[in-house]
């Protein structure tokens, strides 16, 4: 299947420190792809590059055959690249429903902010999303009062509102219990599979990776060590030596 995303020779440095060394990666349409590796491997930096958050990134990033490497985050989002953050970043002082409505208004185009009609039409869809992410009974609560797990669910819902073709999740289950992790990622996988969307996610929980991912890229010290199916990665001696066998 043709790749929806092709990263070509991505390099990123902070002064003398090289965070990413010539990363090339193809993600086919509809694939659930995991990025794993030890801390400091450059996984989150790579996600941040793909999301347009970093300047001074070398290389090409082809999204649906268009080089989008120099585009800012908002432009990437409008082209179909959605994301969540490693540390949950919903709008803390708004209610849960307002967060989803903000995502809906943004996704509805630049003039939607001037239209109460569009706002009114999107409220039902926002409530449907609340049911999907399991927050139907928290609609009127402030996000600041939610648990970490609920915030992550909300953030996922907000990212889905824009119907992204490629969803980037940076450690979506960090800080959650084992049960919460599997619950969230099962929901994510089910939703994305049913809609044929592509997922690229950074994850430390190997059980979650093995269950959810169709392919896995292992990164070490800013470079790609191995790419393959979960089974191939699990059987890779080099990966076992530097990551999977290293206490995980």
């Amino acid at each position: 299947m043709a790749p929806i995303l092709s990263a070509r020779h991505i390099r990123k440095s902070y002064g003398a420190f090289v965070a990413l060394r010539d990363i090339s990666l193809d993600i086919p349409h509809g694939e659930r792809h995991a990025l794993i590796g030890p801390n400091g491997a450059g996984k989150s930096t790579f996600i941040a590059c793909l999301a347009g958050q970093l300047s001074g990134v070398e290389g090409q990033m082809l999204f649906k055959d268009e080089n989008v490497a120099a585009l800012p985050p908002a432009a990437l989002a409008r082209r179909g690249i959605g994301r969540t953050f490693q540390i949950s970043r919903a709008f803390l002082q708004m209610t849960v429903l307002e967060n989803l409505m903000a995502a809906h208004v943004i996704a509805s185009g630049r003039w939607a902010a001037l239209s109460r009609r569009i706002y009114g039409e999107r409220i039902d869809r926002a409530h449907e999303m609340l049911v999907t992410v399991g927050l139907a009974d928290r609609a009127r609560d402030r996000v600041a009062d939610l648990s970490l797990g609920d915030r992550k669910r909300l953030e996922f819902g907000m990212a889905l509102v824009g119907e992204p073709e490629l969803l980037l999740l940076d450690e979506p289950t960090a800080g959650m219990s084992i049960k919460e992790r599997h619950g969230l990622m099962d929901m994510v996988a089910e939703r994305l599979a049913s809609e044929g969307r592509t997922l690229l996610f950074v994850e430390h929980d190997i059980d979650v990776v093995m269950k959810i991912a169709q392919r896995v890229t292992v990164m070490v010290r800013g470079a790609v060590l191995a790419v393959g199916t979960p089974e191939e990665i699990a059987a890779n001696d080099e990966v076992q030596a530097v990551y999977l066998g290293g206490g995980h």
Binding site: P73, Q93, A107, S115, V161
Partner: protein, 322 residues
């Protein structure tokens, strides 16, 4: 775009949210009618400053943009109106619209520069833009009259009595505040709050954050321009100080006194500040000392100001986002 039915529903909702302020408006009008003329003038100034502070509060509490130069748009409103009468030959009644539009235009030009930066750099740039405005008004004698300003070009208050003009200003300010309230509660207000709370998150969702900030900046400038215009009409004059740092600081103090993160904060702040500055000096010569102590107490003990205190006491009219 908004159809009449949804617009009416929005107005109704806003009016309901303001039901506690309707008795206040009636009381103010009664006070205006029954009190001496000097009290009507004070009431007019309080109303004008409440609008000015609320326009600043739109930026600060909802957009999380701290402006150190908001008086520039008050001044542009005052001079826009004044120059439209003196240079443009418009009747004062016709020129009333020119002031706010001049302020909005100034907000568009300066805002386009300021929203390129964030936090303290944003604040410093707003200050720089305001100082440029002040300097032009202060030194361009041929057009602005320089430090002596422009006076005597019209009968103050459009020829109305103190009481009559106070009624007009109360009505216009009430409408302007209602419009600002509807903006805050509209989808656009939601976008302004989103960018204010987490710009990176908003951008990751696809929002052009700078554009939203610029729109908020222009709206705030427009309403500050209305305040400036009404002030110029009140006194029948315009002075560079209308765009000076002193008025910006007054506005900032009003917002902090009244309550950050609350729509009503600017209104309460203007009322408290004007009461203090008019009545305390009759008893204590150094009234600024009282103001300083009050600010100190609010910053330390009541960071959400007077509106926050009301919210804590359970009055929803003072409640805002925390």
């Amino acid at each position: 775009m908004t159809d009449p039915k949804t617009l009416w529903a929005a107005v109704s909702r806003a009016a309901l949210n303001w039901k506690l302020l309707v008795p206040l408006a009636v009381a103010l009008e009664l006070f205006n009618r029954l009190s001496p003329a000097s009290s009507s003038t004070l009431l007019t100034e309080v109303a004008i400053l409440a609008l000015f502070a609320t326009s600043l509060n739109l930026l600060m509490s909802f957009g999380h943009m701290v402006s150190f130069g908001h008086a520039a748009y008050f001044g542009l409103g005052a001079y826009g109106f004044t120059l439209a009468v003196t240079r443009g030959g418009l009747a004062p009644e016709m020129a009333l619209l020119v002031g706010p539009l001049a302020a909005a235009l100034g907000g568009l030009v300066f805002g386009a520069l300021c929203v390129r930066l964030t936090e303290i750099y944003f604040a410093m740039l707003t200050l720089a833009c305001a100082q440029i405005t002040y300097t032009v008004l202060f030194q361009w004698y041929d057009v602005t009259g320089g430090d002596t300003g422009i006076t005597g070009f019209m009968i103050p208050r459009l020829g109305l009595s103190e009481t009559g003009y106070a009624s007009l200003v109360l009505g216009l300010v009430a409408l302007a505040l209602l419009a600002l309230w509807m903006i805050v509660k509209s989808p656009l207000g939601l976008m302004i709050r989103a960018v204010g709370q987490d710009r990176a998150r908003a951008e990751a969702l696809g929002l052009a954050a700078r554009r939203v900030q610029l729109v908020a900046f222009v709206i705030a400038a427009f309403f500050a321009g209305i305040a400036g215009t009404l002030y110029a009409v009140l006194h029948g004059s315009a002075f560079p100080d209308y765009a000076g740092l002193g008025l910006t600081l007054d506005g900032l103090i009003m917002v902090v006194l009244g309550g950050l993160n609350s729509f009503a904060g600017g209104i309460w702040g203007a009322v408290i500040y004007e009461m203090l500055s008019n009545f305390v000096p009759k008893f204590i010569h150094q009234w600024e000392l009282v103001l300083g102590l009050l600010l100190l107490g609010i910053c330390l003990a009541m960071p959400h100001g007077f509106a926050g205190l009301l919210a804590r006491l359970g009055w929803r009219g003072g409640k805002g986002e925390k």
